[in-house]
Structure formats: structure tokens, C-alpha cells
């Protein structure tokens, strides 16, 4: 008789996992992670890296260095600042960043007895450091400590290197001496990270099998070192330190203060650093069991998934970054290409304004500005970076509001530190204004940089040759926008509102200003100002074709308001036909304008002013 209760034998994984196979898995897994990391940074986040370095600057001068060294961990931030500039070429910057992540993994592996069975666990700190960067969102426009992109990485590298050095010291007396010497020497250089090195050594000693008496001595020494070295520096070395921060210099405190950092990866990073020493207590055998292999691979998968899952994703953020990169090169064609490729994405107000700037520069504003989707999409993160904070310096410049452009450049560098991009705009404004010495100051600073020197050299020649200056494209397009009477503005805290209000209320001005003026009236859906401006436009336009959107708006407003026009307007027949179709379609739908019907209207007329007028509502700007 068969034994009913006898269980079927469990299927076992093959036990023939050779060391070479495991080695391949470890190397392969690590390599794949770094390829992934490189691709993520260079390809997916290339524009983001480029933007990061545009919002900061590195100067190879003594005074630049000295300024960093006035506080602990200044050296760490200085090196970070140096490396940050290499993101000018995102591929290069991503490569270096990835290599340093690999170095972190090596040091983690050497520092903690993970063994080959758990080698891929050593990826965790690297993955979390990577996430600290890829999780950054619009906050980059607001955070003062841009160097944070590298400080975690370099700080951990220093910590692990110093920890390894400690472990290599054998005599007990030398270990004690090392702890104090290391903290004394490195606190000014790396601040907080010197203290956590001491903490790590204490943890290591607790977990390793040291005699109790020696252990107690070391622990007391570690505690005293952590508590008193910063105080010593506070009282006797540095003039100006905040006593509440002396244990934390090295962390991006200004970002922390304003809650401008990705909190979870940062916390997880430091927690992981203090969990890894647990491996000192885990007995590991040489045998490669399926369980250990599974855990090892699981660690690798987790690292990848963590980064993939929590990397910030916001289509508009990506579009904005691409457009800003193109704008930095005055590549308006590229901006419009990006806009064309992303026509189905409801934009944020920065994107919309960049688009309009590009359209104006290509002479297509009044023909195409409403052929794109309009919107006021909010950030997907809880970052409060406003459009004004992000882009006022560039948008005001391109709208001819040079004083306000300068103002926002100055506000940024006051609050966030020197930025290559803001300095460029301030130089251009000063040049426009004939403030030669001021422009020279900004150009001279940029000439000292590695990657912005060329731009400064090319553009500073215009300072001394007015004819040459007046021939360049920027001048030809911007100067006509500056021909207005100056007045007081109580504030210019909302770039879009300021521009729209100014241009809507404008009477007279150059043709270029008029173009913006009529565009503002259309954007604000103000019939009366538009009709007044339109009448003027007809007079000065002569027999030239009327831009499409003006025809659309005129047709609509005349119909809506039953306006009597003095002279017949030469509409294009296709615009007339389209309006009839639109009118018919909307009339049929009537009160039944639900989401489905709206989409139908959008699919047919989404590229008209009519659609914008009736269906693009509730726009908010900041």
C-alpha cells in the first residue's frame, strides 16, 4: 500500500554553483548596474546634469577655494563643485560619477566582510547615492547647495577609505592615536563624514571580537572625539560657525533647512552604512548555497528596482530641461522641435513661455502659438519652485525686460550662489545697457571657468565693437523690445503676469513689441484690447497675409460681440471654412460638452485660437 502522507520530494536547485559562476554573476551584476547607472545619468538625465552645472560655477582661484574653507567640510564641497562642472558634458560627468560609484562599491566590499556570497549587497550604498541624485526634481532651481550632487558620494568615499585605513592598523595604541588624529585632520576637510568614520570604527570594534577593556577604552575615545573635536574647532579655530550645526557640516545643511532634499534616500544611505557592519557577526561559509545566491541576486535586483522606482519622473520636467539647454545656446529651432515632439503633453508655464520665445524668434508667434496644447501643469513633486524662480532671468531677457532679468539674476546668485547661466544673462544685460565695466566683470569671471570660457570670449568681443554687437541676432530681436518708457514696478515677482500685463497695456511701440502686445491680449482672452490692437495691425500690415491666429481671433470676437468693422478683413478662405466647421461642431454639441466631446473638438480644432479661447481655462502661473 502506498503511503498517502508521504510528501513528494522537494525540487532542489542544483548545488553545483561553482565559484566561477558566482564570480560571473557578481561581476556581471555589478557591471550591469553601472551600465544602467551610466545610461540613466547620461542619456535619461543628461539634460538634468547639464542644468545642474549651469546653476553653479567652479573657479580655479585662491579666493574661491578660501571661501569654501571658512567652514568645516569646505574641502568636500570644493571638490564636489569641481566635479559638478564636468556635467557640462553629461556623458563625461556621468562616466566619472559612475566610476566613483563603482569605487564606493569596492570600498564597501573591502570594508565589510560581505564575502563573494553577498558581494552584490555592496551595491546598496552606490544605488542610494545614485538615487539621491536621480530623485532630485525642480528643487534644483531652489537648493543653495548644488554641490550636494557629489558630496554624499565623496563623503562616503572618504569615510570608507579612512575606515579601511583604521582597520589596516594593527597596534592598539596606534588605533587610538589614529582615531584622534584622523578626526582632527579631517574634520575641517570633510566635517560630518570624519565623525561618522569614528562612529563606524566604534561599531566595528563592538562587533569584532576585541577584549572588553580595550573595547571600552576605544568606545570612550570615540565618543570623546565625536563630541569634542567639533567643539574644539568651534571655539579655537573657526570664527563663524553655527554651534547647532557643528556636528553636521558636510551635509547640505542649507538644503536641509529649506527641506530641499530627497529625504528617504539620504536617510537610507546612512542607515545602510551602519547596517553593513552587521556582516561582521554573520558567519559565512565558503559554500555557495541557493539561498545565498538568491539573496545576492535579490540585493542586485533591489538596487535596480529602488533606483528605477524612485527616480523622479516628470515629462514636463524633462521637456523643460531640454528646452532650457536649447535656450542656453539660443537654439530656437531645437526648442520648437522639442515642442513639436511633445504636442500631446500639457505644458507647465515655463515650457509655454520658452515655446513662445522660440516662436517669436522664428517669426511664427502669431501663426503658431495656439497650435500647441496650453496648460499650467504642476510639478509632480512637492517642490515649490516657481516659474519665476526658475526662469525669470531668461524669460524677462527675451521679452526685453532687461532690468528685471538682471534683478532675477542677482536674486539667484545672492540666495543660491554664483551660477554660470545667471552670470551670462547678467553679462548680456549689462552689455545691452552699455554698462561695459559691469559686463566685463561677469565675462572675466566666466573666462576663468573651464567650459564657459569660450562663450565669454566669443561674446565679450561685442563689448568693444558696437557695430558688431548690433549685427548679432540677439540684439536684432531683443533691442526692439526695449523701446518703451521706463516706469516703476512695485515688484516683478511673477514673470508671466508682469510680461502679459505690460504688453497687454502697451500702446504704441515697435513692430516687435506690438507682436507681443497682441499675443498678450490673445493669451489673456481680452477682446477689447485685442480688437483695438487688431485694427492698428490691419493698418500697418497693408496687403501682407494676416497671421492665422489673428484671423481666428478676429473672426471669433466679431462674431461673439457683433462688432462692426470699418473695413472688410481679408480672411484666408481655409480659416473661414474651418471656423464654420468649428461653429457647427460646437453648436451641435451644445450643452453636452463632456470630456469625450471636448476631445473630439480638440482633435479637429486643438490647433486653433478658438479651442484655446473656449477650452483652455483655469491657467495658473507663478
Amino acid at each position: 500500500m502506498k503511503e498517502k502522507n508521504k510528501k513528494a520530494p522537494k525540487k532542489k536547485l542544483p548545488r553545483n554553483i561553482s565559484p566561477s559562476t558566482l564570480k560571473m554573476i557578481n561581476i556581471g551584476g555589478s557591471s550591469l548596474f553601472y551600465i544602467f547607472s551610466f545610461c540613466l545619468l547620461a542619456l535619461y538625465r543628461g539634460d538634468f546634469l547639464f542644468r545642474l552645472q549651469e546653476l553653479s560655477i567652479f573657479l580655479p582661484t585662491g579666493s574661491f577655494f578660501a571661501e569654501y574653507m571658512t567652514k568645516p567640510a569646505g574641502f568636500l564641497f570644493y571638490i564636489s563643485s569641481f566635479l559638478l562642472q564636468l556635467f557640462y558634458y553629461p556623458v563625461l560627468g556621468a562616466f566619472i560619477f559612475t566610476m566613483l560609484l563603482a569605487l564606493v562599491q569596492c570600498l564597501v566590499y573591502k570594508s565589510f566582510p560581505l564575502g563573494r556570497n553577498f558581494l552584490l549587497v555592496s551595491l546598496f550604498p552606490s544605488a542610494l547615492i545614485l538615487l539621491c541624485v536621480t530623485q532630485l526634481d525642480h528643487v534644483i532651481y531652489a537648493m543653495p547647495d548644488q554641490e550636494v550632487v557629489y558630496t554624499y558620494l565623496l563623503g562616503i568615499l572618504f569615510t570608507l577609505s579612512l575606515f579601511l585605513l583604521y582597520r589596516s592598523i594593527k597596534p592598539f595604541w596606534a588605533k587610538r592615536f589614529y582615531i584622534i588624529l584622523m578626526a582632527c585632520l579631517f574634520y575641517p576637510l570633510i566635517g560630518f563624514y570624519a565623525l561618522i568614520t569614528v562612529l563606524l570604527t566604534a561599531l566595528y570594534e563592538i562587533l569584532s571580537f576585541r577584549k572588553k577593556e580595550e573595547l571600552y577604552v576605544l568606545l570612550v575615545l570615540c565618543l570623546v572625539t565625536i563630541l569634542f573635536i567639533p567643539r574644539f574647532y568651534y571655539h579655537f579655530v573657526y570664527d563663524v560657525l553655527n554651534v547647532k550645526c557643528i556636528y553636521f557640516y558636510g551635509l547640505p545643511l542649507r538644503n536641509f533647512e529649506e527641506m530641499l532634499f530627497p529625504r528617504i534616500p539620504v536617510i537610507a544611505l546612512f542607515v545602510s552604512l551602519f547596517l553593513l557592519p552587521a556582516f561582521y557577526k554573520i558567519k559565512q561559509s565558503n559554500e555557495i548555497t541557493p539561498k545565498t545566491l538568491t539573496l545576492n541576486i535579490l540585493a542586485w535586483v533591489s538596487c535596480l528596482l529602488i533606483v528605477i522606482a524612485f527616480t523622479y519622473r516628470d515629462k514636463n520636467f524633462d521637456i523643460q530641461l531640454k528646452m532650457e539647454r536649447a535656450l542656453s545656446k539660443n537654439d530656437f529651432e531645437e526648442i520648437l522641435k522639442i515642442a513639436d515632439k511633445t504636442k500631446d503633453v500639457a505644458p507647465n508655464r515655463a515650457i509655454l513661455q520658452y515655446r513662445n520665445i522660440a516662436l517669436y524668434r522664428k517669426g511664427q508667434l502669431l501663426d503658431k502659438m495656439f497650435t500647441y496644447l496650453h496648460g499650467s501643469a504642476e510639478h509632480k513633486s512637492d517642490s515649490l519652485a516657481s516659474v519665476t524662480a526658475m526662469s525669470a532671468h531668461s524669460i524677462f531677457y527675451h521679452y526685453g525686460k532687461l532690468n528685471f532679468s538682471y534683478r532675477w539674476g542677482m536674486e539667484f546668485i545672492t540666495k543660491r550662489g554664483l551660477s554660470a547661466e545667471h552670470l551670462k544673462y547678467m553679462a548680456k544685460v549689462a552689455m545691452f545697457n552699455g554698462e561695459t565695466a559691469l559686463a566685463e566683470k561677469y565675462f572675466d569671471i566666466l573666462k576663468q571657468t573651464l567650459f564657459h570660457r569660450k562663450w565669454a570670449e566669443e561674446n565679450s568681443v561685442f563689448l568693444y565693437d558696437k557695430n558688431l554687437f548690433e549685427q548679432q541676432e540677439d540684439y536684432k530681436k531683443i533691442y526692439p523690445l526695449t523701446v518703451y518708457n521706463g516706469e516703476f514696478w512695485e515688484n516683478s515677482d511673477n514673470v508671466e503676469s508682469t510680461n502679459l500685463t505690460f504688453y497687454r497695456d502697451l500702446s504704441g511701440g515697435t513692430r516687435e513689441m506690438f507682436e507681443h502686445s497682441i499675443a498678450a491680449a490673445l493669451t489673456m482672452k481680452e477682446i477689447k484690447p485685442f480688437m483695438n490692437k487688431f485694427q492698428t495691425f490691419i493698418k500697418i500690415n497693408g496687403d501682407k497675409p494676416i497671421p492665422v491666429h489673428l484671423q481666428e481671433a478676429a473672426m471669433l470676437f466679431i462674431d461673439l460681440e457683433r462688432i462692426e468693422v470699418a473695413n472688410p478683413i481679408k480672411y484666408d478662405q481655409h480659416v473661414v471654412n474651418r471656423y464654420k466647421d468649428f461653429h457647427r461642431m460646437v453648436s451641435v454639441m451644445g450643452a453636452n460638452m463632456n470630456e469625450e466631446n471636448t476631445k473630439k473638438v480638440q482633435s479637429k480644432f486643438g490647433n486653433t485660437y478658438w479651442y484655446y479661447y473656449f477650452f483652455s481655462n483655469g491657467m495658473k502661473t507663478n
Partner: protein, 514 residues
């Protein structure tokens, strides 16, 4: 073998010696037409005997540069390189040896293998020493935002500099604490003050070396004390109280307009923590108090204001901002009774369609130095602002053409011996305020001003902060940043308003002046 080593060492030593010692070229072509272009410009200036080395950079491009500075007496100094940095000990000896004499600066440039010598630059060493210390606030010329602010002191006989107070020392890392208006009693630092606003705000007053935080705003005062003036002998500080706002020009390159919509004068008794109102005429904007050296007269600026338009006061002020003109007034003061006399106009700038602010009396009491612009009082934003001087004995006005530039000249202060002034100027680039020093000789003549020297001649080019409110001191501030930080985080003493000493000048008397 030993001899061989000795020879090697000797040759090496000779090499090092010859490469370190510099001499001027013996064969050169003279370029008489012009001076070598240098930055900063130190040509034709008068310098105090105890000033730090006037390091400069030769702007002309060349392969090699040699600079020699020499006087009739003392040892010449020869320096190699485009950046000319003088050894401080040699510099001091040279200046000591050439008091009230000229120094010649010869600049040699090597181009295409040939040496050229430009026309000699000259500077005169005055035996009148300058006060050893100055203090200033460092601030970016921003509009609304600010970040790290510091009040720093600098020893101008060398390059030593340190923070008196820095707003990052307190509270949050990026503290929202504005600091300003440092002021000293009679150039000494045992009695001094500055304001901290917003976070842990208050006026920090040091009295006999002991710091305290005081809230001067009391009663119906417009604000706490703003622009301070320590009485030269008594523990009294005159303040303006102001309601200040600003607006931004959309086009004008002067960019920012700062206006008071109200301002009055008060007297703060440091020992009693008591405020007395000096002047609070609603039709006048009294501000910028300054004491005469004997402490018996208070000078101030005042503008008459009468509403004309049917709009808010603020709107009207900004609509007619160019019509607001300040004049200089004074009132006698009895330190014993703390009574003020009648206001008396000293300089009616408004009659010249100008606006005068920042009165400062020379230590000998003979001269009134002030800032004169086209309108308003916040002259740091007015390119029309110049320094002007009135001889109080004769009433003669000196427009100080040798001192002024076509850009802003504003905040100024006398040295304790009355021979030097330091003032704020934006002549370098129109945006960043720099401290300039000028000499005033016994005959009442001004020398060409020069910028405060820095160790690195390129310092100002790469420095993105303005030097605000330069003030002379004869000694350093002895308290540390930590001392001030501790006080600011401590208790605040509330000042009280003393109603017994209301201003004796009636409103109707005031309006007669206009």
C-alpha cells in the same frame, strides 16, 4: 666626493639666489607718452604713511614685468610679475622714510624680447596717519533677497580682516537675519551698536564693552531705530525711525528706488533704555542724524512733504519721487539737560534743485561733508550722487571735483584726525560698492581718491559683494562673533518711551523754514 657635492650645492644655491634677486633692466626704451595701465589706479594719489601695500596689477600684456618703487630715502623695492605685490615690511620702511615726499613707481615691460619703460607713476606719502581699522558690511547689491551677511573689520595697515558679526552664526544655518548700521562712539569700539532684524532681531548695543540686545521700537514709533549716531561723549544714540519701501525701475539703469514715506528722529538713552522723540513733524522726513564733534549740535537731513495728489501717500511719493529733496538742518543740544534747540537750516539743497543727505562733521568741527544727489535720500542707487563739502566757518561750498566720479559717491566718514575720508563709490562698474579713501589737507584741498588696497590686486574684479557703510575705528572690536551671537540669542531689553522730552519746536515754526 665631498667637494663634488659642495660644488653642486654651491651651484644650486647660486642658481636659487640669482633667480630670486630681481633687478631693473639696464637697456630699455622709454615710452614717455603714457603711464602703464594698472589696476587699481594709484597714479597721483596721496597715501597715509601707515597704509598697507598698494598692490596692483599691470594690465598691459607683456612677456615679463618688473616694477620698482623708490623714494628719496629708504630702500627701493623691486618686484617681478604682472601682479605687483610689495613685501609689507619693506613697504612700511619705504613709507616711513619718505613721509611728505613722493614715491616713484617705474614699470618695465618686456615685449618681443625688448624692454620698455613707461612714464613713472607717482604717489605722495603723507605723514598724517590713517585710523588703523575700518569696518563695513558685506552684502550683494541685491533687490529683495539676502543670504550671508557680515559686518567685518579690516586693519588697513595690513590685510588682516575678520568678522565682527556674521548672520550664519546664529539660529538656522541659513538664517533670515538681516544685520546693518554698525556705528561707534568716537571711533572707539567699547561703545558701539548694530541692528539685527527678523530672526533673533533687536539692536545690539555694546556699552563699556558689555553687549545687550534692545528693542528700541516702543509706543507709536514708526519703527525701531534705523540710522544711528552715537553722541561723542554721552551714552546717547540719535536714531532716525523710518518707514521705508522700494520699487524697481523697469528701464532706468539706477534700477532701484528706495523711499521713506515717513521718518522721524529719536534719542535713545543707553543707560536708561529710554527713547525720546526729537523730531516727528508729519510734513517732514527727518533722517540721517549726525553729531558735531563737541556733542552740542545734532545735524540731520530733512525733506518737506505735503500731499497734493488724491492718492495714497506711497503712490504719491513714487509718482513724484524726483521732487523729494532733502536739506541739511541742525539743532543745538545741551548734554546736561538733553534739550534740543530750534532747527536751523544749514544747507538748502532743495533751492538748488538737489537733495543732500548723510551730514558728517569733521573732527575739528569746521567742515560739513555730505552726499548730494538730484533727489531722494538713498543715494547709493543714484548715479548723480556726489560728495560735497561746506566750510562751516565761511559757508563756502566745495563740490569736490577731484574726489567725485560720474557714478555714485555716497556714504562717507572722517578719520579721527580729520585728514582722511573713506566713502562708498560705484565708480568701478556702477553696481558693486567699493571703499575709496581720499586725503584732505590743511589747506582744504582734496587728493585723488584711491581704493582700499587688497592683497590680491584682482580681488575687486572677482568679488561679488558691496562694501557698505565704511566706518573708521582707532581700535578693533574686541568682542567676538560668538559673543554677539550669544547676546542676540539672549533676552531682549524693551526700551520705553519718555514723553517728557517732546520736541520744543512747534509745527508752525517748522513750516516757516520752507
Amino acid at each position: 666626493m665631498k667637494i663634488k657635492y659642495l660644488i653642486v650645492v654651491l651651484i644650486a644655491g647660486l642658481f636659487v639666489f640669482t633667480s630670486c634677486s630681481v633687478s631693473v633692466p639696464s637697456d630699455y626704451e622709454t615710452v614717455d607718452c603714457c603711464l602703464a595701465a594698472i589696476y587699481p589706479d594709484y597714479q597721483g594719489i596721496v597715501i597715509p604713511v601707515n597704509i598697507a601695500p598698494l598692490n596692483f596689477k599691470i594690465k598691459d600684456e607683456a612677456e615679463n614685468y618688473i616694477t620698482r618703487i623708490k623714494g628719496d630715502a629708504g630702500e627701493e623695492i623691486i618686484v617681478k610679475g604682472q601682479k605687483v605685490r610689495f613685501d609689507i615690511n619693506k613697504w612700511r620702511k619705504l613709507l616711513d622714510a619718505n613721509q611728505d615726499k613722493k614715491l616713484n613707481v617705474e614699470i618695465f615691460l618686456q615685449k618681443d624680447g625688448k624692454w620698455y619703460k613707461h612714464r613713472d607713476m607717482e604717489m605722495t606719502v603723507s605723514s598724517d596717519a590713517i585710523d588703523e581699522y575700518i569696518s563695513y558690511r558685506l552684502i550683494r547689491p541685491s533687490y529683495v533677497t539676502y543670504d550671508e551677511l557680515s559686518i567685518r573689520q579690516r586693519n588697513i595697515t595690513n590685510f588682516e580682516e575678520r568678522d565682527i558679526y556674521n548672520n550664519t552664526a546664529i539660529g538656522r544655518y541659513q538664517s533670515e537675519q538681516c544685520i546693518n548700521c554698525h556705528a561707534y562712539q568716537n571711533y572707539k569700539t567699547d561703545n558701539m551698536q548694530f541692528h539685527a532684524r527678523q530672526f533673533n532681531g533687536g539692536t545690539l548695543i555694546v556699552s563699556d564693552g558689555v553687549p545687550e540686545k534692545v528693542n528700541i521700537k516702543t509706543g507709536n514709533l514708526i519703527s525701531g531705530g534705523v540710522y544711528p549716531a552715537w553722541h561723542p561723549t554721552e551714552k546717547l544714540i540719535a536714531y532716525s525711525v523710518n518707514s521705508t519701501s522700494q520699487r524697481f525701475h523697469s528701464k532706468d539703469l539706477q534700477k532701484v528706488e528706495v523711499m521713506d514715506s515717513e521718518s522721524d528722529l529719536i534719542l535713545f538713552d543707553v543707560l536708561k533704555n529710554e527713547v525720546t522723540i526729537i523730531q516727528n513733524d508729519p510734513n517732514a522726513f527727518e533722517t540721517f542724524p549726525a553729531w558735531a564733534p563737541d556733542g552740542k549740535t545734532l545735524y540731520y537731513a530733512s525733506a518737506y512733504y505735503e500731499p497734493k495728489l488724491n492718492v495714497s501717500k506711497l503712490e504719491e511719493i513714487y509718482t513724484n519721487y524726483k521732487e523729494l529733496k532733502y536739506d541739511i538742518f541742525r539743532m543745538s543740544f545741551d548734554p546736561a539737560t538733553k534739550e534740543f534747540g530750534e532747527p536751523e537750516i544749514v544747507f538748502q539743497a532743495s533751492a538748488l534743485n538737489k537733495s543732500a543727505t548723510f551730514p558728517r562733521i569733521s573732527p575739528d568741527g569746521n567742515y560739513l561733508l555730505f552726499s548730494l544727489g538730484d533727489y531722494g535720500n538713498f543715494h547709493i542707487w543714484h548715479t548723480s550722487a556726489d560728495l560735497a563739502l561746506i566750510d562751516l566757518r565761511t559757508g563756502e561750498l566745495d563740490m569736490m571735483e577731484n574726489v567725485n566720479s560720474d557714478n555714485v559717491e555716497s556714504y562717507h566718514t572722517w578719520s579721527s584726525n580729520g585728514r582722511w575720508i573713506i566713502f562708498s563709490s560705484r565708480r568701478d562698474d556702477g553696481s558693486y560698492t567699493r571703499p575709496y579713501i581720499a586725503y584732505f589737507d590743511r589747506e582744504g584741498n582734496w587728493s585723488k581718491p584711491f581704493i582700499l588696497p587688497q592683497k590680491d590686486p584682482d580681488f575687486y574684479k572677482a568679488f561679488f559683494k558691496s562694501f557698505n557703510i565704511p566706518e573708521f575705528m582707532v581700535e578693533p572690536v574686541k568682542l567676538s562673533v560668538k559673543d554677539f551671537a550669544k547676546t542676540l540669542q539672549g533676552e531682549t531689553i524693551q526700551a520705553t518711551l519718555n514723553g517728557d522730552h517732546a520736541p520744543s519746536a512747534a509745527k508752525s515754526d517748522k513750516s516757516n523754514i520752507y
